[in-house]
Amino acid sequence: MKWNCNPKSNNFCKSVILITDLTKAVAYYVIYMSKITNHEKKILIIEDETILLELFADKFISEKFEVLQSTTAEKGLKLALKNKPDLILLDILLPKMDGLTMLKMLRANSWGKNVPVIILSNVTDQQKVSEAMKLGVYDYIIKTDLILNDLVKQVKEVTNF
């Protein structure tokens, strides 16, 4: 038997429609909230040593980060401006364009001037790190002293807004 529901003439029918709409709204809200709370933090790693790049990427992926990767500053800059990651790990010594030049270009961009950057450096890069600090960096890391779990902890702390 087919039930004809006319909300204009039937109050019961009107209530059923209202409840259905409310249920739909609640469901949409739950989906929306779960999307917000489960939002993966996006990081970009720019490192020319592929072994190191993969090591970082695997670790951050296992920690539920969305990871963008680049072995050059040029591609890294493009990826950054297009995808707007929550943080950038930037090697200072890169082929062609170095990390410092890329950082300068990033900081000249209206979005890029605010993104936290952690510099990946070697012991001998003191002068370059000092210059990078003038452009505004969240921190720098000496690769030989790196403890991956500490880096993950630090990245989680600064991206947790």
């Binding site: 605010n114 720098y140 807004f161």
Partner: protein
């Protein structure tokens, strides 16, 4: 670089040292043989209680010396009582105390570089002490935010953006509170629309209103 080219030349004979953020530069109990001059970044001075509580009475800005009291004096101990830690990545010059003393003796006018800093230091210390003694957690967090606004604030049209990526843990370290307490107080300030977040940075919507909260 300072306003004095003579002092800049003096500094250049020392090698600059870099520290990562939250790296300890001076530990309590260490001999106070050196004075540090900050070229870049910020350094906190902290007091650690025997039960592990931390209180940060002062944040040193670029172009200042730390520790603040370093003159050779019979009444002062040559051992550091406080901890000095980098709040951001820093670049410092480590100057042997004797060499700095000789420099100021040879160039007495230059002592004003240091004297100016000492005046600010004393005033800030008193304000911190007042809040610590008479205020509660809300006041401590408010004061920490005002300090950060003064040191890192960039004025926009209406608001002030704190131009470094400070976490609740950083504010907890500065205010001597736990991270959880800071989060509660920050949420309280956000509900009052006194602060907010914009592109990773803490934003102070009205500096005047925040200062008034400190007096309440």
């Amino acid at each position: 670089m300072t306003n004095s080219s003579k002092f800049d030349t003096f500094l250049k004979q020392f090698k600059s040292i870099l520290y990562r953020r939250r790296e300890r530069i001076i530990l309590p109990g260490e001999e106070a043989d050196n004075v540090f001059y900050i070229e870049q970044g910020h350094v906190t001075q902290s007091i650690l209680s025997p039960n592990g509580n931390q209180f940060t009475p002062y944040i040193f800005a670029p172009n200042t010396f730390f520790p603040s009291i370093w003159f050779e004096n019979n009444h002062l101990s040559n051992i550091h009582d406080h901890e000095y830690e980098s709040l951001t990545p820093v670049e410092v010059y480590k100057i042997p105390k004797g060499k700095l003393m000789s420099y100021f003796r040879e160039n007495p006018n230059e002592i004003f570089i240091f004297y100016e800093q000492l005046t600010v230091y004393s005033a800030e210390l008193l304000k911190k002490l007042e809040t610590r003694v008479f205020g509660d957690a809300f006041h401590m967090v408010t004061l920490a935010l005002l300090d950060l606004a003064k040191l890192f604030g960039k004025k926009q049209t209406k608001e002030i953006i704190i131009n470094y990526w400070f976490t609740h843990q950083d504010i907890a370290n500065i205010s001597g509170l736990s991270r959880e307490v800071v989060t509660i107080q920050m949420n309280h300030l956000m509900k009052k629309q006194l602060i907010g977040y914009k592109n990773h940075f803490i934003v102070i919507n009205s500096l005047k209103a925040l200062e008034m909260e400190l007096q309440s």
